[in-house]
Amino acid sequence: MSGLRRRFTVPQRLLHWLMAICILAMLFIGVGMVSTVTPKYLALVSIHKLLGIAILALALLRLAVRLAYGAPPLPIDLPEPMRLAARLSHYALYSLMIGMPLIGWGMLSAAAYPVVLAGGAHLPAILPPSDRLHALLWDAHVYLAFVFFALILLHVAAALFHALIRHDGVFEAMASVSTDDRVAPSE
């Protein structure tokens, strides 16, 4: 049913590009804030927390939409290793989109910091206070952030490879601005 679309559905494309902006901003804010002691630090941390929860909510919505609509099929002539890479990188990206905010939230909970978002919303602790848990989650948050950024670079490189070199429609499946996402006639 859903496998025959040429493009991702409009909600999927909207979510993808909105989240692309959020996640890139998030990663840059993250590495920026932990490397400064200026008053910017507080503003950046505050944005980081709010954006993190927004990304978590969007990622869960996106996962639901993906499960409902699926993804357009990859080109038939795409070599098997590239298919595998595409599939695995998507699993990894979804895991990080959902996992990173939860790790950050858990890390603050384990450190017994109040989790207060800009605007005043107070989130409950999702883990009990624990120094060891905090240390573990903090390491995970830092290293996975670099993994996440590396994966995004790989994702961008692959997208451009499809767009500029293979010209196989994979890039357009997500980048098209057309609202016409009807099922393609069978080939």
Partner: protein, 352 residues
């Protein structure tokens, strides 16, 4: 739509170059943001490193104010603070407090008489789920005006070269007043006799939304009894912890929390500049310390007394220190929790 045929070789090469440029520029922007191209940037890591003792890092301990003891008690608000801030902590009532008396040293085993500055970390929780964390010291004003100057001070004081401090003092004349205080202020033999000051300025926001620049202090109920550092040294290296334990065991100890309100034009961005004595002060409540607990298994050990953890109704001002302290304390916290396995607990495994 797969396109038949292969694109010409030159365009493929150009495309690869373009892709590499996009990826390379993105990675470079990321590295730049992370400060990898800015070795002079003052980072939390550098700040924490500057506290490293010559003899090696005491694993699992706070990187500064390393020696301390926990307390629990009550903050009883008298309601007067509500005129200045809408934070629930100022509404008449009793709120649980956890804190830590400490010495401003990077050595958790430093003898008491070798440490000039004493501090108190305090966390007050209110039923609305908010928290007020503050870390105060007994000096009446801070030593330097900016976080960068504080970092330079740490570096200068760690150097063997005797001219390093002279050079620093020449560049930062504001430190002279602190030096004079350190030399002349009387020592006492008890944490209970110390006045603890926020030094940094914060903004209280009242119910009408009006902002008030303030600093706060905890004034001890116990009258200070001056003693010389030599006399304190004779009483033992850990006298302050023993003394406060015994004193609180006999009777709870009290401090009055006094908020000082700035006049328009008073310096709020510089904690070396004390405000004139005649500024309006409001006594907002009483801290009662009811119980002392050793740090290793005490309730304060794993609390980061980050001075930017503030309830609604209190926010940071243009004072640059709270942000710098928040960033640095978080780094110290990250490091010491990562070293948790090496922290000398009294009972191994007693605390997760």
């Amino acid at each position: 739509m797969p396109q038949p045929g292969r694109p010409p070789m030159r365009s493929v090469l150009g495309s690869f170059v373009l892709i590499a440029a996009v990826v390379g520029a993105s990675a470079a922007a990321f590295a730049y943001t992370a400060g990898w191209f800015s070795p002079q940037r003052l980072t939390p890591d550098k700040m924490v490193d500057a506290f490293r003792p010559a003899g090696g890092v005491p694993l699992g301990h706070r990187k500064n104010h390393a020696k301390g003891i926990c307390f629990t008690g009550i903050f009883e608000a008298n309601g007067a603070g509500s005129a200045l801030s809408r934070a629930q902590v100022f509404t008449r009532g009793q709120y649980p407090a956890v804190g830590r008396f400490n010495l401003a040293t990077n050595d958790p085993n430093a003898p008491d008489a070798t440490v000039r500055v004493r501090g108190m970390g305090l966390r007050i929780a209110t039923p609305d789920g908010q928290e007020w964390r503050t870390a105060m010291i007994d000096a009446p004003f801070f030593a330097v005006s900016t976080p960068q100057a504080f970092y330079d001070l740490l570096l200068a004081s760690a150097r063997k070269d005797p001219t390093a401090m002279k050079t620093f003092a020449a560049a930062h004349p504001e430190i002279a007043a602190f030096g004079a205080w350190a030399k002349s202020a009387p020592w006492t033999g008890s944490y209970a006799e110390a006045r603890f000051n926020s030094l940094d300025s914060f903004i209280f926001v009242d119910n009408s939304g009006a902002a008030h620049a303030v600093r706060w202090s905890l004034l001890p109920a116990a009258p200070p009894v001056p003693i010389s550092p030599d006399e304190l040294a004779k009483r033992g290296p850990d006298f302050l912890a023993q003394e406060i334990t015994e004193r609180v065991h006999k009777a709870p100890q009290h401090w009055t929390m006094v908020v000082t309100v700035a006049n328009a034009g008073d310096p709020t961005a510089d904690p070396t500049k004390a405000w004139p004595e005649d500024r309006r002060t409001v006594a907002v409540g009483t801290l009662t310390v009811q119980q002392i607990e050793p740090e290793p298994d005490g309730p304060c050990r794993d609390i980061n007394f980050d001075p930017t953890v503030l309830p609604r109704g209190i926010r940071t001002s243009d004072d640059p220190f709270p942000a710098a302290r928040s960033a640095t304390y978080a780094k110290s916290y990250d490091r010491r929790t990562a070293e948790a396995a090496d922290y000398p607990h009294t009972t191994p495994g007693a605390k997760p």
